[in-house]
Subunit: 205 residues, 2 copies
C-alpha cells in the first residue's frame, strides 16, 4: 500500500526535521561534553528524539558525529556565502573578513570539529571518513576567504598568505579552547589585517 | 633504620628514572592511542614499570598526563634554549626559526598536548590544572621566539607578529594531525619568513 503523495510528503519532512535536530544536538554535545560522552543515546535525548528513531538515522556515534560536523559546516559556509552575495561586489574591510573567520574558528562548531579531528587521529577507521571531509571543508573555506579578501592567487605568494590566514585563525581557535582569548585575538587580528593589506594591496582587483 | 647515603642515592636515581620513563611513555601513548585509551596501566606497561610502581608516582591518569606534557615541553624548550645559546649571539635565519617552531608543533609532544587540551575543554577539574600549564608553556614559547627572531617588542605591532607566528604554527600543527601536510607547510613557512622579515626588519637589533 503506497501512501498518497499528501501523506508521504509530511513524513519525509518530519524525518528530515528529526535528522536535523539530531545533527544540531550532536554539535552541541560534542562541544560541551566532549567525544567520549557524546553517544547516540545522549544526543537523541538532547534532541528530544527517541533512541530508536535516532538509531534509524545513524547507526553509530562516528556516523552521527561526522554527519553533524559536515552539516554544521555547510550551514555556516552557506551563511557566509549569502553574506558575501548580499554585498553585491562591494569589498568587506579586511578586518571584518578576519573577524568573521575568527568567529567561525572559535564557535561551538569548531570545538565539535576539533573533538572529531582529535578522535580520528588515533582511530584509523574514523580517520578514513574524516580526511575527505577535512579536505572538502578546507577547500570551501579557502575559496570563500580568497573571494572575501578579493585576493589574486595568480600573484606569487598570495595563495600562501591566504593559507596562512586560515592556519592562523585555526591556531586562534585552539588558543580560545580553555580560556577566553578574545582581547588578545582582537589586537592580533588588527595587526594581521594591516600585514595582509600590505601583502595583497597591489594585487587586489 | 636509615639507609646509608650510598644506598639512598641510587634508590632516588632509580625512582627518578622510573618517573621519567613513565612520563615519556605517557606522551607516546597519548599521541598514538589518544586520551581514552591512555590509562595509568597502559602507560606503565609501555614503560616497563609495574602497575604498583606507576600508581606510587601518579595516582590518576590526569596527574600522569599533565606531568608528562609539562615534562616533555620543558625538555624541548631546554633543547631549543641550548641551541640558541650555542649560536653565541649569531642570529638564525628566520626560516630556520620557523622550521624549528613548526617541528615542535607537529611533534608527538604537540599531539599529546592537544589530547590533553581537548580533554580539559570538557572537564572542569582537568581544565583547572591545564590552564596554568598552558599559560606557562605559552609564555616560555613566546620568550624563546622573541629571542630567536631577535624581535624588538617595544616597537608597535611586533609583539602581535610574534604571537601571530605562534598561532600560525599551532594552526599548522592541527593541519598536520590527520594527513602529512609538510609540502604545503614548507611553502607557507617560506612566505611567512619573508613577511616576518619585512615586518621586523627595521626593528631588529
Amino acid at each position: 500500500m503506497e501512501p498518497t503523495q499528501a501523506v508521504r510528503e509530511p513524513r519525509q519532512d518530519r524525518s528530515r526535521a528529526t535528522r536535523q535536530r539530531l545533527l544540531e544536538a550532536a554539535v552541541d554535545c560534542l562541544s560541551s561534553l566532549g567525544w567520549s560522552r557524546t553517544t547516540v543515546a545522549v544526543v537523541a535525548e538532547r534532541a528530544g528524539v527517541s533512541r530508536g528513531a535516532a538509531q534509524h538515522h545513524f547507526r553509530t556515534r562516528e556516523e552521527l558525529v561526522t554527519a553533524a560536523v559536515e552539516y554544521g559546516t555547510e550551514v555556516r559556509l552557506r551563511q557566509v556565502r549569502e553574506h558575501l552575495n548580499a554585498l553585491a561586489g562591494r569589498r568587506l574591510p579586511t578586518l571584518d573578513v578576519l573577524t568573521m573567520l575568527a568567529e567561525m574558528y572559535t564557535s561551538p562548531l569548531f570545538r565539535a570539529a576539533l573533538q572529531l579531528w582529535v578522535a580520528a587521529s588515533s582511530d584509523e577507521q574514523l580517520r578514513a571518513q574524516v580526511v575527505p571531509l577535512e579536505a572538502r571543508v578546507g577547500r570551501a573555506a579557502h575559496r570563500l576567504t580568497v573571494e572575501a579578501l578579493g585576493a589574486d592567487e595568480s600573484v606569487p605568494g598570495v595563495r600562501e598568505m591566504v593559507q596562512a590566514t586560515l592556519d592562523l585563525v585555526r591556531g586562534l581557535g585552539l588558543a580560545d579552547l580553555l580560556t577566553d582569548d578574545s582581547a588578545r585575538r582582537s589586537r592580533l587580528l588588527r595587526q594581521w589585517a594591516s600585514t595582509l593589506d600590505l601583502a595583497l594591496r597591489d594585487h587586489t582587483a
